[in-house]
């Protein structure tokens, strides 16, 4: 009997901004504990997929299933409450609130003990505990990403969607970010990772999908795509 370990199953969704097609007939899935990478150029549709999962953009066709439930038409509020967390480009941290308050906002729908989660996040990111009363707007880009990820972890999500976490960060910080992502996988999180940094993503990811102007061109395991000449030519610098 086939074990369906799928946390997320997206089948044939298309999203239009007015008349413009952002993604067309996209299907992908993510299994428990996997890192699934979405790579492609800017505007290829990677963010749109995540926004469609979260319900911020509506797909005009197809279906999205999460842990066996159809979430295609669900409100964003309920989708987040059922365990999907999205970290947007740049982190989406609220600059006029403290780090602590930002973290607390990550647990709006969380039913368990808030302080326990807070302790766990602080263990993972001790700097955040040190500076918890500092306004988030005064942090550097890398620190803000840390807050964003910490906030995402506060609700113990079943699916973590990270949109360009390494964007605009220096190489050392980028390496740190990817280490955190691998750590999270070890801790058992399922991660959907959208990135323009193709090489690092393919090195981390179990499987990945290659996006080009709204369609999925290729997919396969991280290793397969790293070795793929087309991918190497287009995204890995030959």
């Amino acid at each position: 009997m086939e074990q369906n370990n799928n946390v997320l199953t997206i089948e044939n969704i298309s999203v239009f901004y007015g008349h413009i097609c952002a993604i067309r007939n996209v299907s992908l899935d993510a299994q428990e504990g996997e890192i699934v990478g979405l790579i492609g150029a800017n505007g290829a549709g990677k963010s749109t997929v995540m926004k469609a999962v979260l319900g911020i953009q509506r797909s005009s066709s197809g279906s999205i299933e999460f842990l066996g439930k159809d979430i295609t038409r669900m409100s964003t509020e309920r989708i987040v409450a059922s365990g999907i967390v999205y970290v947007p480009e740049g982190g989406g941290v609220l600059p006029f609130m403290t780090i602590l308050e930002n973290l607390q906002l990550g647990a709006i729908h969380f039913k368990g003990n808030l302080n326990d989660r807070l302790k766990q996040v602080f263990e993972r990111f001790p700097i955040l505990e040190e500076r918890q009363h500092q306004l988030a707007g005064t942090l550097s880009g890398g620190e803000r990403q840390m807050v964003a990820v910490g906030r995402a972890l506060m609700s113990a999500p079943k699916l973590l969607m990270l949109d360009e976490p390494s964007l605009g960060l220096g190489p050392k910080v980028v390496a740190g970010v990817f280490n955190i992502i691998l750590d999270l996988q070890k801790a058992g999180y399922t991660i959907l990772l959208s990135e323009q940094n193709a090489r690092k993503t393919l090195q981390c990811a179990n499987r990945a999908y290659v996006f080009q102007t709204g369609d999925i061109m290729l997919n396969g395991t991280g290793r397969e795509l790293l070795d793929n000449p087309v991918v190497q030519q287009a995204y890995l610098g030959g």
């Binding site: 979260l54 911020i56 409100s75 964003t76 509020e77 989708i79 987040v80 409450a81 999205y86 947007p88 989406g92 941290v93 609220l94 600059p95 006029f96 609130m97 308050e101 607390q104 906002l105 990550g106 709006i108 729908h109 906030r151």
Partner: protein, 291 residues
């Protein structure tokens, strides 16, 4: 000297009432982006509701006060859906017009349907006429003291709510960035309705306090309250809570002291003139950054 102190206290009391009203305006502006021009009129409408119940129940204070508070919440919640489509579209002009229309409608209701359009009066039991504090040559009514204390409590309670509770955090998140709030799983629509209901609740409470301290209400009170709130809002710059508090207190004190020398209508005109001058020369207000 005692007279002056008494007038000062009266001014602070008036100012703290204005402060609560201004807080509600700011609340709505911050969370929904709408300047609710008619809010103060609706607040006075709550006073009328309380008066109505008081009349009907032979001055039963508990029922009357409850009626004022409940009517505030109801009015707030019921008028919220009218604004929702405009919050989504960020159509501020249309939302302003709607709030203006609501204010004018309620003003009309008050000037035609209740008490044949005459100002209404609240029973002296509400104002606690009986209990007074004597100090030197002046007498301070208990009602005024209660009003002052109550409004200070309301202000602090609201600030506590905003800064230290989960709901308050949600409100602030929506006020700062609706996109991020949505991503966090916050329903912006529900939050907007909640803020209207909250403003209604605070309005109802303030309505009772106004009834307690001034003892009368009329549709003109609604109009003048609107302009005074706007004066404070613009003086302190829209959205600036702390600035609003300070300016409200200043307005209350100045008005209280000036009332001895000028007829009421002119104090209104002075308040409006202040608004105009401030707007012309410093549109961001005294405390604020550009919005």
């Amino acid at each position: 000297m005692e007279v002056f102190i008494a007038q000062l206290i009266s001014g602070i009391k008036l100012g703290s009432l204005y402060a609560v009203v201004v807080i509600c305006y700011n609340l709505l502006i911050l969370v929904t982006g709408i300047l609710h021009l008619g809010y103060a009129s609706l607040l006075v409408l709550s006073m009328y509701a309380a008066w109505f119940v008081l009349n009907a129940t032979n001055n039963n204070l508990i029922l009357g006060i409850s009626a004022g508070i409940v009517s505030g919440i109801v009015i707030g919640t019921v008028t919220a859906p009218l604004f929702l489509p405009f919050i989504k579209r960020r159509a501020i002009l249309e939302a302003l017009v709607i709030s203006l229309a609501l204010g004018i409608i309620s003003g009309d209701v008050m000037s035609h349907w209740f008490n044949l359009g005459l100002p209404i009066a609240f029973p002296s039991s509400l104002q606690m006429e009986g209990t007074t504090i004597s100090w030197g040559l002046t007498i301070i009514r208990m009602g005024e003291v209660v009003t002052l204390v109550a409004s200070i409590i309301i202000v602090f309670a609201f600030l506590y709510f905003l800064n230290r509770t989960k709901r308050g955090r949600i409100l602030r998140a929506v006020a700062q960035d609706t996109e991020v709030a949505r991503i966090l799983g916050i329903s912006v629509t529900k939050t907007a309705i909640f803020s209207f209901a909250l403003a209604g609740l605070l309005g109802g409470l303030t309505a009772i306090l106004f009834a307690m301290s001034t003892g009368t209400a009329s549709s003109i009170l609604g109009d003048s309250l609107v302009i005074k709130a706007l004066a404070v809002l613009f003086l302190a710059s829209i959205g600036n809570l702390r600035g609003g508090l300070i300016c409200a207190l200043i307005l209350g004190v100045v008005e209280s002291l000036a009332m001895g020398y000028l007829p009421g209508d002119w104090t209104n005109a002075i308040a409006f003139s202040v608004v105009v001058v401030i707007l012309l020369f410093k549109p961001e207000g005294l405390f604020g950054e550009q919005h």
